[in-house]
Symmetry: C2
Subunit: 190 residues, 2 copies
């Protein structure tokens, strides 16, 4: 998606350790108009999938997910990183965070992920694929049908796509911009 790629080149920053900083327009300050356009494109890519539910994980997946959900007229569930007082029975899985360098549990209430759901997972980044595989595990526990994964930005050099393809060879995985390498202050896009 050209408009997103141009923005990454304009405002993204390559930091040491394979980190792409896009907090000017994606994950701290958000360009809500650009994000709506990204949601439209993701919707187009998964239009044939008869999606009944959007799944994401807090916090930076929520904005693209709610916009895709609005366009799909589907409810959006965001997995939580802590157990709220008000949550009863839930599914839980453990995810390793690349940027934070630690494991954390993510949870979804059993009320909101069910057998029969056709789930599209939406997130801001595909990097190592750990959050994505965790969400797939939550769907498996619920007996829900995971029908696709859509990302704003993929870092193709961190192996996430291969990891997902190895576990789910038939799953459609789409990214709107693919970063193939991060150098000393440089960003390479596919």
């Amino acid at each position: 998606m050209d408009i997103l790629k141009q923005r990454i080149l304009k405002d993204g920053k390559s930091l040491p350790g394979g980190i792409l900083k896009v907090d000017n327009f994606i994950n701290h300050q958000m360009d809500s108009v650009l994000m709506y356009q990204c949601a439209e494109e993701l919707m187009r890519l998964f239009a044939d999938k008869k999606i009944t539910k959007i799944l994401t994980v807090e916090a930076s997946g929520i904005a693209p997910a709610v916009l895709v959900g609005y366009l799909a007229k589907a409810p959006v569930v965001f997995a939580k990183k802590a157990t709220p007082k008000t949550m009863d029975k839930h599914y839980v899985t453990t995810v390793h965070s690349f940027t934070k360098g630690r494991d954390y549990d993510v949870l979804v209430s059993k009320e909101y992920l069910n057998a029969g759901d056709r789930v599209l997972f939406i997130d801001d980044f595909l990097a190592c694929g750990n959050a994505a595989l965790g969400m797939a595990d939550l769907c498996r526990q619920a007996g829900a049908d995971l029908v696709g994964m859509g990302f704003l930005v993929e870092k193709s050099f961190q192996g996430g796509r291969e990891k997902i393809a190895s576990a789910f060879p038939d799953l459609r995985v789409e990214s709107l911009a693919t970063v193939t390498g991060l150098g000393d202050g440089t960003i390479e896009l596919k």
Copy 2:
């Protein structure tokens, strides 16, 4: 806003300790179409305020904020509860969470909140008003002009509105649904 009030009466649950559980449609599973309608109403209420920036706090404020931001064609900044590796200089304030029963720090990068910004704070709940006052403090530190606060649901019996009015007598504070009391399984709405 009638459609939101009806939904609270239909799907909200009154839990012990003054907790209103709305995780069926607001803060775990989200009804993205209802949330878009709420954003339209908030936009209408603040249409005269010449807003240049939407401010919220992760995680459950993000969805309504990004929708209001989309309608206002304004960037959305969400304050973070932990310092990301990639964040340099930031403003920080301490907020007491009523539901979690503890204090936590929230941060905004100095890059994304500035003198000259006309800021609308958006959140899912107004209860004790602590998050709202924290966001006002971040705006004060940045020299930004806080021009309004908009909430989906207000719990009027927890004093948040009074606390905000005492600190900022001229600030416009709007809520789309006001809960006046929570009884044993009952919800009273204004």
